[in-house]
């Protein structure tokens, strides 16, 4: 069951139940009540409702009648219209223009009339007793009856071969079926066509390209008998790589293949072309059709997927078709959007694989076919339970063992290290505390050192909360200096001095509505007297001369100007003021630039006698201090240096850091120490308490300690269980541990990719908060399957976050618009696409804010009530260190232990014993080697499973009115009651049922498609609709014969099926209409001849570039952008491609829904919105105009002419003949030679070309080529 969020009116039964006797009131109404009803209520019902909701109506709308109390009580499709006494009754909601219905539809009733109804319902809906024999409106849909009365739901059975009179005519069994009908109607089949015509027909039918004159000649002159010679041609063609290109395009029509989502902005569908390439490969390999279907429906679930030579999973890629539909970027009703998306998927599924229009049963039982609404929603469940996924594909045989090996090595190594490491082997607690105290001493002496008077004089450090003394012009610099808190986070670490600095990059509000670099302004310092040699300052920002710069003005003249370096980080600058001593000066910071790098920043302005500022803080001085202290504290001097930097680094800034409190209290006087520590401890405790309170109000989706929920893992990067204690992070150079009981996508390697998805949940809170650490991995919420908001977060703000905290776990939130989707269902997903890693600790639903950032819980252990000196405090740390090591050994590491240990190892504060190190680095090396062997991958757009959910029937197709649940299964008319048992989507079972030999549709539908492509019309002409409204088969027995041959004899081999048909007498018939049959069979329904067929748009274009010689036969790869004409306008207009598509076949030209190539559209290439089994063959002037005037066609004529002009030994007649052979696959006739010759002459004169240049001036031959391309022989096959 899925939840619905609108007011839900549960339906007693799906079909409306109708009473036989009306008017059985529980208590008899009073006369007064009856009078009220008769005088007030009934007239309103008659006036406003009866037209649609009474016996008067042909079919009461929504199944509701209001001309009887019992009708109202029983209600319509969406349940009871009134519940006596209940003011929430549906009828009242509807006349109040509620969410589901607004009645009467045209005009809302005036309030007094609405009040009448309210009052009446309140009274208990009194109605006089009246006997009415109800005319039943019960649903009379009888699925079994439907199924037994239409031919397609039974069979196919192998029919007996018909007897024919002309026994010599059939070459294949199938010919008997054709000939039988012809003989029945006294029609003679045409003669077999000529070899030249046949080979051209065969080439276009099989590979979609014309035969070269040499290929035609080889067949025409082949001494073998016709049938043997032609068999050779067919075999060659079916083995050609181009076969897949031709037939993949047919399939792409069925699955509405597109590379963009259409709609307003036509966003790109990622990796779409991989599916196209999959099709070409699968068709070329002749993957059996039943498997081909299974791969597309459930390739992600196949236990033994098909791998290609590079061990890449091919089957999986078949599922790409599900996602080729159009999509909307900001649906106001996201549930409707989901219903529409699934509807499109079901429509494609039904038509493509089954040849029936299941989509018609979305709102009501199928009007004609044996398909119920329940059948529709039973299919919807399969899709409801499936998810969109982008997968990184690795060679299957390589990656699995590799990952396994890495994991094993990691486990082994982790166990070894855990058992080897102890206070004795690495670092004891006492020593740990000695180092802490030594660091304190270094710091103390350094502080002293730093307090000696400096010769430098600070002029401005922007540490104050305002620009005191400075003058602002414009508003670029705001009204105060920038700090870390107010800087633009995307500018990163700017390396300013101290806490504040000046910067004109603006994200402050409400300083100006414009943000970023759009503001301009200047910042002017107080005027000062120059009495130092050097002026030093830090600068950042844009490199625009005179526009973004710091200037020094002396006596009103600008003497120095320095721009930024297009860097956000500050860089030191100094100016030598020697010549200006004693003069008055002013610093002016200028931002006169808008747009990119239109900002400037300045900080740490000081005067000094020295050119180099760091003379006093020399490394030598530091080393000396450290050496002294190390000796005094009996610690190693080199280690102490590391300890010092590790503690005094920015890393210990966050309060969560285990050493933060040590650093913070390092120079606190002893008498104040206890006070500060207790305060910190209390703060930590309060914070813990507050966090615990907040979390207790925020139900956990998962904390990854117990692994309570079923998560969905795809790809290689997410482990299948939470990280065990002591797992080593082997990605770096030093020993690091993973946190225990979280999920880490980088557990083995940052290179691996994958996705991690929660089960589906119902959202009942404002926000989702997730404790994460990591970077580069997107975490997002998918509500009702809606995935497109990454382009444009309109209506879906806050659905996605990318954690950017590699070192600390922080609460990240999905919030903002999330709160609008309460009551909807969804799941969270983490997508590791190889840009980093994510560690997931905890995921919760919440109505609270984020828990505060609190001091590490370690403080509770570290700080005892009496702790009043640094020595004791350091010892406390030492004990904690030993505890952490012990927890490591006993596999009980908690997050604080891990933080402490990681910090120590990260800064190499720990001396790992030599022998241990040797073993470790050897194994580590091995691990890295495995990591380096991780093969290259490619991305594909595919389907993945979620948890199995059954969909509810949406009454009248309205997602706001849920009815009975429809368990997942294939159409009842095919499988009866056969409910899917899978805990996942069940698509694999669905595919098995579709490809089951007893399915009456699958084989028939496919052989009919093949027939359609080889004859221009299917045996069932409506190739996508075998239902009652589709067309009846012209040759039903033939269809069944072929279907059985296909599934039984040929084991679903499409190539064998094509070959069998092409080797038939029927296929090889001449296509010339017989005037005698104009009356008896003008449309050639009985196939006394082949059909004359116009080439499809793709084939026309391919034909042009093949004949011109421009064709690039490369297979596969990203699509070529369409060449855009000025008429192709609108949002999402892509970059234009080359006029000739770089010579690639049309299947490789991009299919962007809103920008489809005009030549394709003109020649009926379908816009990909729906499954198309049979294209239109229209006849519009734009076809002629394109072939006459499209620069592409003109250009190709020239390419062709140029190629021919290389041969200077030809006579004009030779060349004309060659061109006609190339264009039409046959020699030129005498009269054609003459006509073309005349034409060349006329054009030559018109151009004024000298006679002797006839053969070399390509204009003439391009003109002739242009005519040939326009001729009917070129774009039709006969």
């Amino acid at each position: 069951m899925r939840a619905t969020f609108a007011a839900v009116f549960l339906c007693a039964a799906y079909c409306s139940i109708c009473p036989t006797v009306v008017g059985q009131n529980a208590s008899k109404p009073t006369a007064k009540e009856i009078e009220f009803f008769e005088s007030k209520v009934r007239p309103l019902l008659v006036k406003h409702c009866y037209e649609c909701h009474s016996a008067k109506a042909k079919e009461p709308k929504g199944g509701l009648r209001v001309d009887g109390r019992a009708f109202l009580l029983a209600g319509g499709d969406t349940g009871p219209a009134i519940e006596p006494g209940n003011q929430d009754s549906l009828l009242l909601d509807a006349i109040g223009y509620g969410d589901i219905y607004q009645m009467p539809p045209k005009t809302k009733l005036p309030q007094p009339e609405i009040n009448v109804f309210k009052q009446w319902v309140k009274m208990g809906a009194p109605w006089p007793v009246e006997e009415t024999v109800a005319t039943t409106t019960a649903n009379n849909f009888d699925l079994q009856q439907r199924a037994s009365s239409h031919w397609v739901w039974t069979g196919p059975r192998q029919p007996r071969l018909p007897r024919v009179k002309n026994k010599s005519w059939p070459q294949q069994e199938l010919d008997h079926f054709i000939l039988e009908k012809l003989e029945d109607h006294d029609l003679q089949p045409n003669l077999q066509t000529s070899r030249a015509t046949l080979i051209r027909r065969a080439y276009f039918d099989v590979i979609g390209l014309p035969p070269t004159p040499a290929e035609v000649a080889a067949f025409v002159e082949n001494p073998e008998p016709f049938d043997i010679a032609f068999r050779q041609v067919v075999d060659q063609l079916l083995a050609s790589k181009h076969f897949g290109e031709r037939w993949a395009r047919h399939w792409m029509d069925l699955v509405r293949y597109g590379e963009s989502y259409g709609h307003e902005f036509d966003y790109t569908i990622p990796h779409a072309y991989k599916y196209r390439d999959y099709l070409i490969r699968a068709i070329n390999e002749d993957v059996p059709y039943d498997q081909f279907i299974t791969e597309q429906i459930a390739g992600d679930l196949m236990p033994a997927p098909r791998l290609d030579a590079n061990q890449i999973n091919q089957s999986l890629q078949g599922t790409g078709f599900w996602w080729m539909g159009e999509a909307v970027h900001a649906p106001v009703d996201v549930l409707q959007d989901e219903a529409d998306r699934i509807d499109n998927q079901i429509d494609v599924l039904g038509k493509t694989f089954l040849g029936v229009t299941v989509g018609c049963a979305r709102c009501h039982d199928h009007k004609f076919d044996a398909i119920s609404t329940k059948d529709y929603y039973a299919l919807a469940g399969f899709l409801q339970s499936s998810r969109r996924d982008i997968r990184a594909l690795y060679p299957a045989g390589t990656i699995k063992p590799l990952v396994q090996q890495m994991a094993q090595l990691q486990m082994k190594l982790s166990a070894k290290v855990a058992s080897d490491i102890s206070p004795n082997t690495v670092l004891g607690g006492k020593e740990f505390s000695r180092y802490l105290l030594a660091v304190r001493e270094v710091n103390r002496r350094k502080l002293q050192y730093d307090t000696t008077p400096d010769e430098a004089v600070v002029f401005e450090d922007f540490e104050n909360p305002d620009y005191e003394g400075w003058v602002m012009e414009g508003n670029a610099f705001g009204d105060r200096p920038i700090t870390k808190e107010t800087q633009a986070p995307y500018q990163g670490e700017q390396k300013a001095h101290g806490l504040g600095w000046a910067n004109s990059h603006n994200i402050r509000k409400p300083v100006g509505t414009k943000t970023g670099d759009s503001l301009k302004g200047r910042l002017l310092s107080p005027v000062f007297k120059i009495d130092h040699r050097y002026l030093h300052f830090l600068i950042c920002g844009g490199n625009h001369k005179e526009k973004t710069c710091v200037n020094l003005i002396i006596d009103g003249k600008q003497v120095f100007s320095q721009t930024g370096f297009n860097k956000n980080e500050f860089s030191p600058i100094h100016w030598d003021l020697e010549p200006y001593q004693g003069k008055m000066a002013q610093i002016v910071v200028v931002d006169e630039q808008e747009g990119s790098w239109g900002n400037i920043g300045i900080d740490h302005i000081l005067f000094s006698p020295h050119e180099n500022l760091s003379t006093k803080n020399s490394p030598e001085a530091q080393t000396k201090v450290i050496a002294e202290v190390a000796a005094e504290f009996k610690v190693a001097a080199d280690k102490l240096q590391l300890w010092f930097s590790a503690i005094i680094s920015k890393e210990t800034d966050p309060v969560q850091h285990p050493l933060h409190i040590w650093r913070k209290t390092i120079d606190v006087p002893t008498k104040n120490l206890n006070g500060q520590l207790q305060a910190a401890k209390k703060q930590s405790l309060d914070g813990l308490q507050k966090t615990a309170d907040m979390l207790s109000n925020s139900p956990q989706l998962d904390g990854f300690e117990q692994w309570a929920t079923q998560w969905y893992i795809q790809g290689e990067s997410f482990p299948i269980k939470p990280t065990p204690s002591g797992t080593l992070d082997l990605r770096g150079e030093v020993i690091q541990l993973f946190r225990t009981g979280s999920i880490h996508s980088g557990q083995l390697s940052n290179k691996l990719q994958g996705s991690f998805r929660s089960p589906t949940f119902e959202l009942n809170h404002n926000a989702i908060q997730m404790k994460l650490r990591g970077n580069g991995v997107e975490s997002r919420l998918i509500i009702d399957g809606f995935f497109l908001y990454r382009f444009n977060a309109l209506l879906f703000r806050g659905f996605s976050t990318t954690a950017n905290s590699p070192d600390a776990s922080r609460w990240h939130r999905l919030q903002g618009d999330v709160s609008r989707y309460q009551g909807h269902t969804g799941y969270v997903e983490f997508l590791d696409q190889g840009n980093g890693s994510i560690c997931i600790d905890d995921i919760r639903f919440t109505n609270e804010g984020s828990p505060p950032e609190i001091p590490t819980p370690l403080l509770q252990n570290l700080i005892t009530p009496q702790l009043d000196n640094h020595e004791a405090f350091a010892l406390s740390y030492g004990r904690q260190w030993e505890t952490a090591l012990e927890n490591w050994r006993t596999a009980q590491l908690n997050d604080e232990d891990v933080d402490l240990i990681n910090w120590a190892f990260k800064h190499t504060l720990i001396e790992v014993p030599e022998d241990m190190l040797a073993h470790l680095s050897d194994q580590w090396q091995q691990f890295r080697k495995l990591d380096s062997e991780i093969p290259k991958h490619e991305h594909v757009l595919v389907m993945a499973d979620g948890n199995g959910e059954n969909e509810d029937i949406f009454i009248r197709g309205n997602h706001r009115t849920a009815g009975e649940t429809a368990p997942r299964q294939l159409l009842t008319a095919i499988v009866g009651e056969k409910i899917t048992q899978s805990s996942g989507s069940g698509r694999l079972e669905l595919a098995a049922d579709i490809t089951d030999a007893n399915n009456p549709l699958t084989s028939r539908v496919m052989v009919n498609r093949i027939w359609h492509h080889l004859f221009g019309r299917g045996i069932v002409a409506s190739t996508n609709n075998f239902g009652v409204l589709g067309q009846r088969p012209s040759h039903p027995k033939l269809l069944d014969h072929l279907a059985r041959r296909f599934s039984d004899e040929h084991q679903w081999s499409v190539k064998y099926m094509i070959k069998e048909i092409m080797l038939s007498s029927t296929y090889q018939l001449s296509s010339t209409p017989n005037p005698k049959y104009l009356d008896s069979d003008p449309n050639n329904f009985l196939l006394y001849r082949q059909n004359i067929r116009r080439l499809q748009g793709e084939a026309i274009r391919d034909n042009i570039i093949a004949v011109s010689g421009r064709l690039d036969k490369t297979l596969f790869g990203p699509s070529m952008p369409v060449y855009l004409t000025p008429f192709m306008t609108g949002r999402g207009r892509p970059k234009t491609g080359p006029l000739d598509g770089a010579g690639r076949r049309s299947i490789y030209i991009s299919v962007r829904r809103n920008f489809i190539a005009p030549l394709m559209l003109a020649f009926d290439t379908p816009a990909p919105f729906n499954s198309i089994g049979r294209r239109n063959v229209s006849n519009v002037p734009s076809q002629a105009l394109i072939l006459m005037n499209d620069p592409f066609v003109i250009e190709q004529s020239q390419v062709w002419a140029k190629r021919l002009s290389a041969n200077d030994k030809q006579t004009p007649a030779d060349r004309i003949d060659q061109m006609i052979r190339e264009a039409f696959g046959r020699p030129a006739s005498k009269i054609e030679l003459a006509d073309a010759g005349d034409f060349l002459e006329i054009q030559r004169e018109q151009y004024g070309i000298a006679k002797e240049n006839l053969m070399t001036d390509i204009r003439l031959w391009a003109d002739l080529g242009h005519v040939l391309i326009n001729s009917k022989s070129f774009i039709y096959i006969d």
Binding site: K106, H185, E326, L795, D1081
Partner: protein
């Protein structure tokens, strides 16, 4: 080479046609025969080879042509045709009705209209100062103030408005008109889109033929030198192209003869003749040299305000297309640098500039058609895909509002001076005589002599209609 230009079109005689055509008597004979055999005739299709044969209407038509003035981006009805004093009263206060989900979900306070309204004509229909020119014609208008749409997002709503279904890939109303009526014009297709520069969200699919044959798709006339795609010959001179076409014709006719004049080959040959006529005709059509200065000034061909001259050209061209017999002409808006009529912010400037661009040309078009006696056979519709909210988006904008908006119709068969339907006191939702887009389509087809329930095309196992399974004719506005 001499392709005749005429309005009746066919190069074949009626007799030849029947002899050669697949839709001749022979088909009927076989269809009967095959039906008995369990074989149906082809799925609901018209003859795709001769798509524009004029067809009989279901009943006498009032309108021979439709000019659809599509206001891309949705003008605010409460600022133009549907004055609401209550907005001024509540200006700046929180909106007091329940607010449905909106596109941008940035709900501001109730926002009074910044424009003054006046009553015009004998009917006294009010209009704001935005459409002072157009408003002079109100006595010819039926103003429907109770329009609704099913979508509050441009693209869905555009598809819905144009095709009757809110998804991509369905036939546009203009395509249905061509499919239903055929064409009286030998030189042009039945459905022409005059693109002023703004392609509506959803793209050219708004004008597509969907599952109908490609013949019925809208032909887009651009504002560039080459008004129709591929209309311009590439040869240096006409004679160079004519020589080519002469050779082509010879070759094609021989092919056709070899194939016993098979129907689709014959039709494709004839198709070249229409293409050639179009190629010569379109430049003539778009050359306004023979229009008087007075007419040009009436439309505003030389106007300086942004967009006006472009829209004036479109309107004038629309009149000329009506004269040529084109069935359905749609005008899209010119770009006046405000992202169409879609004023989520900057309402005053945006609406002012948009109105300035179209107001005078629209008024001129009505005047001009009337003077020429063409208004009686031409239906003009002014509408957007939805309206705008009476409450603000942010402080100076309005969001999308599909629950109630205004359109007007004028010309053939329309009862002038009519106001039909009403929104609530704020102009938020239609509450009286609520009309749907399906009703609009049903009424349009009705005026063209077509029963919207009878005009069907078999696709996807259904007899598809422009009005799906809905639509009621709005009789109250009919003369």
């Amino acid at each position: 080479m001499n392709f005749p230009r005429n309005r009746s079109g066919s190069p074949l005689s009626r007799r030849q046609w029947l002899q050669r055509s697949a839709s001749g008597f022979g088909t009927l004979a076989l269809a009967n025969m095959l039906t008995n055999d369990g074989l149906a005739v082809d799925e609901g299709r018209r003859d795709t080879q001769k798509p524009f044969l004029p067809r009989a209407t279901h009943f006498p038509a009032k309108a021979k042509h439709i000019i659809y003035l599509y206001m891309d981006g949705a003008p605010s009805h409460v600022d133009i045709w549907d004055p609401k004093p209550r907005l001024a009263k509540d200006n700046g206060k929180p909106f007091s009705m329940k607010i449905e989900p909106t596109q941008f979900n940035n709900i501001g306070n109730t926002l009074a209209s910044p424009w003054k309204f006046q009553n015009y004509g004998e009917s006294g229909i009010p209009c704001s100062d935005l459409f002072k020119h157009t408003a002079q014609h109100v006595d010819k208008f039926a103003v429907i103030r109770s329009m609704t749409s099913n979508f509050s997002e441009h693209t869905n709503a555009n598809y819905f408005l144009h095709t009757g279904i809110g998804v991509q890939g369905r036939p546009s109303m203009g395509a249905w008109a061509g499919y239903g009526l055929g064409s009286e014009c030998a030189n042009l297709p039945a459905y022409v889109v005059l693109n002023g520069g703004l392609t509506p969200p959803g793209g050219l699919d708004n004008f597509g033929s969907g599952f109908l044959p490609a013949s019925y798709q809208g032909s887009v006339f651009g504002a560039s030198k080459e008004p129709v795609a591929y209309i311009q010959r590439r040869e240096a001179s006409a004679v160079l192209q004519e020589n080519k076409l002469a050779l082509l014709k010879k070759m094609d006719q021989r092919d056709s003869a070899r194939l016993n004049h098979e129907d689709q080959i014959e039709s494709a040959i004839a198709n070249y003749e229409l293409a050639y006529r179009m190629q010569n005709f379109v430049p003539e059509l778009t050359d306004f040299g023979n229009e008087s200065e007075a007419i040009q000034n009436l439309y505003g061909i030389h106007a300086k305000t942004k967009g006006t001259a472009i829209y004036a050209r479109q309107c004038l061209l629309a009149r000329r297309l009506v004269e040529e017999g084109v069935r359905f002409i749609e005008l899209t808006c010119p770009n006046v640098s405000h992202d169409r009529w879609d004023q989520h912010g900057n309402l005053f400037a945006g609406h002012t500039d948009n109105a300035m661009a179209v107001d005078q040309p629209i008024a001129a078009l009505i005047t001009d058609l009337e003077q020429r006696g063409l208004l009686d056979e031409t239906l003009i519709i002014w509408s957007a895909e939805f309206g705008r909210t009476p409450f603000a988006q942010g402080s100076n904008g309005r969001d999308h509002n599909p629950f109630g908006f205004t359109l007007w119709m004028c010309g053939a068969g329309i009862k002038g001076g009519t106001i039909h339907g009403a929104t609530d006191e704020y102009g938020y939702k239609a509450v009286e005589n609520k009309q749907s887009i399906h009703d609009l389509h049903a009424t349009m087809l009705h005026l063209m002599g077509i029963d919207h329930e009878q005009l069907t095309f078999r696709f996807s196992g259904r007899d598809m209609r422009l009005t799906d399974v809905h639509g009621e004719i709005i009789h109250d506005i009919l003369a």
